[in-house]
C-alpha cells in the first residue's frame, strides 16, 4: 500500500450515488430482520409469560443460536436459499434479533407491577385490552433496550454477508481489499457506524414518544 493515502476524497465524491445505493441495501437487509424478529418475539414472549414453563427451554435454544458464528450460518443456508439472495443473510439475522428480543420481551411483560395489573382488571379491562393498554406500553422501555442491541449488532453483522454475496456496505470491504485500495473500506466502516448511530437515535426518539415516563426513570435493561 506504498504511497496510497488512507482516504481518496475524490473517489468518494465520484461514487456518492453508488455508496447511497449500498447504504439503502444495507439498511434493508439488516433492519428488516430486526422487525421480523420483533414480530416473532412479541407473540412468543406472550406465550412465555402465560406458560412460564416454556421459557427456560426456549431461552436455552436461543442462547445457543446467538453463539452461532454468522458466516457459518450464512454458508449453511446457501444450499436452500442460493448464493447472493437476500434470504441467505436475512434469515440468520432474524434469528439473532429474536435471540436478543425474546428475553427482553419476557422481562418487559413481567415487569408490570401486580397492583397495576389488578387495577386494570378492576377498571373492567379484559385480557386483550389490558395487554394493549397496560402491559405492552409498560414493556416499551425494555423492548427499546433490546431493539437497540439487536439493531446495532444486526447492522454490523450484515456486512459479513458480503462474503456470501449479499452484504450491502460489506461489499466495500471485499472490493477495497481485493484492489489494495483502502478508501472504500474506510468509507464502509464510517457508513456502517453512521447507520448504527442513526438507528440508535431513532430508537431513543421512539422511546421518548411511546414511553415518555421512562426517560425520567433510570435506564432499564442493558
Amino acid at each position: 500500500m506504498d504511497g496510497e493515502p488512507l482516504v481518496r476524497w475524490n473517489w468518494i465524491h465520484d461514487h456518492l450515488g453508488y455508496l447511497w445505493g449500498l447504504l439503502r441495501d444495507h439498511a434493508v437487509i439488516s433492519l428488516v430482520p430486526v422487525l421480523f424478529g420483533l414480530a416473532l418475539a412479541l407473540p412468543l414472549g406472550l406465550l412465555c409469560t402465560r406458560f412460564p414453563r416454556l421459557y427456560q427451554p426456549l431461552a436455552a435454544v436461543f442462547n445457543v443460536v446467538y453463539a452461532l458464528p454468522s458466516l457459518a450460518v450464512f454458508v449453511v443456508l446457501i444450499p436452500y436459499t442460493g448464493l447472493a439472495t437476500q434470504a441467505t443473510v436475512m434469515i440468520p439475522l432474524t434469528c439473532y434479533a429474536l435471540a436478543v428480543l425474546l428475553p427482553t420481551t419476557v422481562d418487559g411483560l413481567r415487569a408490570v407491577p401486580e397492583p397495576v395489573r389488578q387495577a386494570a382488571t378492576a377498571l373492567g379491562y379484559g385480557p386483550w385490552r389490558r395487554l394493549a393498554a397496560v402491559e405492552l406500553p409498560s414493556a416499551v422501555p425494555y423492548l427499546v433496550a433490546g431493539l437497540r442491541v439487536a439493531a446495532v449488532s444486526s447492522i454490523s453483522l450484515a456486512s459479513v454477508g458480503a462474503l456470501v454475496g449479499r452484504g450491502g456496505l460489506g461489499y466495500l470491504f471485499i472490493d477495497g481489499f481485493q484492489r489494495t485500495f483502502p478508501t472504500p473500506i474506510v468509507a464502509g466502516i464510517v457508513l456502517v457506524a453512521l447507520l448504527a448511530l442513526v438507528t440508535d437515535a431513532v430508537l431513543l426518539l421512539a422511546r421518548r414518544l411511546l414511553a415518555p415516563w421512562a426517560v425520567r426513570e433510570k435506564a432499564v435493561g442493558r
Binding site: M1, L6, N63, V64, Y66, A67, L68, P69, S70, L71, A72, V73, V75, V76, I78, P79, R148, V149, V152, S153, I155, S156, S159, V160, A162, L163, V164, L169, G170, L172, F173, I174, G176, F177, T180, P182, I185, V186, G188, I189, V192, A193, A196, L197, D200
Partner: protein, 222 residues
Amino acid sequence: MNWGGWLSKFFTDPDRLHGPDSIVHRVTEHLVLCGEALGLAFLIAVPLGLLLGYTGRAAALVTALTGAARALPTLGLVTLSVLVAGVGDTAVLVPLVALAAPVLLVAACEGVRGTDPDLRDAARGIGLTHPQVLWQVCVPWALPALLAGLRTATVQVIATATVAAYVGLGGLGRYVVDGLATQDFPQTIGGALLVVLLAVAAQLFFAALSRFALPAGLRQRR
C-alpha cells in the same frame, strides 16, 4: 449430494487427517489465534475495568464506548488493518482485540460497580484498605459478570476469527473461505459445522465454569 454426503466427504478426505490442512491443525490454529486475542484483550480491559468500576469514574463513558464498539464492522476492520499493517497475526489480532476488549471492560466495570454498597462499607469498617476491598470483596462479587463477559467475548472472537481467513490467515475459516472460492461445498459446510461446534463447546465450557468455579457464597445467589 446431500448434507450427509457432503459431511462424510469432508471428514474422510485424507487431507483432513494429516498435514497443514488437517482438522486438528486448523482447530489448533483457530484456538491459538482466539486465545491470543482474548488474552491480550483481558490484560488490557479487565484491570482498567476493575479500577474504573471501583472508583466509579467514567462509567457512563465506558457504556457509551461499548455501544460504539458494537457498531464497528469486524470485516471492515480486518481488511483495513491488513492493508495498513500487512498480512500477519498482528493485523488480525487488532480487530479481534477491539471486538473483545469493550465487552470485558464493561463486564469488569459493571461487575465491580454492582457490589453491595453495605458490603463495601463493612469491609472498610473492619479496617480493609482500598486495594484489599477491591481484591477481596469486589473482585469475587464481580466474578459472575466477568465470566459472562468472557463467555460473550470468547464466542464472538471464535465466530469472527472465521472471517479473518478471508485475509489469508489460517484457522477454521480457511475451510469456509477456500470452499466458497472454489465452489467446494463439502469443505465450506464442513468448516462451518466445525466453527459452530467450537462456539457451542465454548458456551458449554463457560456455563460449566460459572457453575463450578465461583466462590461458594456467590453460587447460591444466582
